[in-house]
C-alpha cells in the first residue's frame, strides 16, 4: 500500500472548503429570507449544497486501491441546487410586490432549518480541524525521531 503523507491533509483541506461553501450558502439563505426581487424575477429561492464522496484521482495506484475498496474518499460539491418549493404567501396589499389578491410571495426560507444546518456545518468543520491537528502532531513526533 503506497503511503502518501499529504493525502490526509488534502482530503481534510477539501472538506474544510466544502463546509465553508455550505456555510456561505446558509448565510446567503438567511440574508435573503425577506428578498422579494431577484435578477431572475420573483422571490429568492433558498439554495442547498449537494455533496458527494469523491472518487480518487485517476492515477494507477489510486485506481487499483479503489478497485480493492482500500482507498480514502474525499468529499466534493456536486452542485448548489435551488429549492423549488412554493414561496411563502403573506397578505400585505400595500407592499409594492403584492399580486392582484394582495399577497406577497416571500422566499421559501425557514430560518429554523437554516440554523440547524448552520450548527451541523460547524460540527463538521470542527471535526475536520481536529484531523489537521492530529496530522500535525503525528508528523511532528515522526520528525523528532532523529533528534
Amino acid at each position: 500500500m503506497p503511503l502518501n503523507v499529504f493525502r490526509m491533509m488534502e482530503v481534510t483541506g477539501r472538506s474544510l472548503s466544502v463546509q465553508r461553501t455550505r456555510m456561505e450558502v446558509v448565510s446567503s439563505n438567511l440574508a435573503n429570507a425577506q428578498t422579494t426581487r431577484t435578477p431572475e424575477g420573483g422571490p429568492y429561492k433558498r439554495r442547498d449544497v449537494v455533496v458527494a464522496a469523491e472518487k480518487p484521482r485517476d492515477d494507477f495506484g489510486m485506481l487499483l486501491e479503489d478497485e480493492m475498496d482500500q482507498s480514502v474518499h474525499g468529499v466534493r460539491i456536486v452542485e448548489i441546487q435551488p429549492d423549488e418549493s412554493e414561496p411563502r404567501l403573506v397578505y400585505d396589499p400595500d407592499h409594492p410586490d403584492s399580486n392582484e389578491e394582495g399577497y406577497v410571495a416571500y422566499p421559501n426560507v425557514d430560518s429554523m432549518e437554516e440554523m440547524v444546518n448552520l450548527i451541523t456545518v460547524m460540527r463538521s468543520y470542527e471535526a475536520n480541524l481536529s484531523t489537521i491537528t492530529a496530522v500535525r502532531d503525528m508528523t511532528t513526533s515522526a520528525l523528532r525521531i532523529g533528534s
Binding site: L3, M138, S141
Partner: protein, 121 residues
Amino acid sequence: MNDMGDNLLSWLNAAMDMSYQRGNIIAGNLANVETPGYTPKDMEFEAALMSALDSEGSVKDLPPVRVFSRSDNEQGLDGNRVDLDQEMTNQAANKLFYEISANTMKRKLALLQYSIDEGGR
C-alpha cells in the same frame, strides 16, 4: 532493514505506516460526515498488531491489513453511517499509537547510539 539484534525498528516502521494509513481512512470518514449514503471505513488494526506479537514477546512481521466498510453502523435518514464520536475516539487513539511508536523508535535509536559511543572508547 538490518536492526542489529531484533526487528523492533522495522516492526515499528511498519506499525507507523499502518497507523498513518488508518489516519488517512479516518480523515476520509470525517470529510464525509455529512455526505448522503456514505459508509465509513476502518482497518483491522488491533488484530494485526496482536498477531505480530508472539508469546515470547518478540515481534514478527506485520501481516497485511484489511480495510473494511462499517456497514453495520446505524444509518441516518440520508443513508450516512458515519458515527462522529466513534471516529473522533479512533482518531485520538490512532494519534496516540503513532506518537508512542515514534517515541519508542527514538529511544531504540538512542540505545543503539549509546552502545556505539561506548564501544568506541
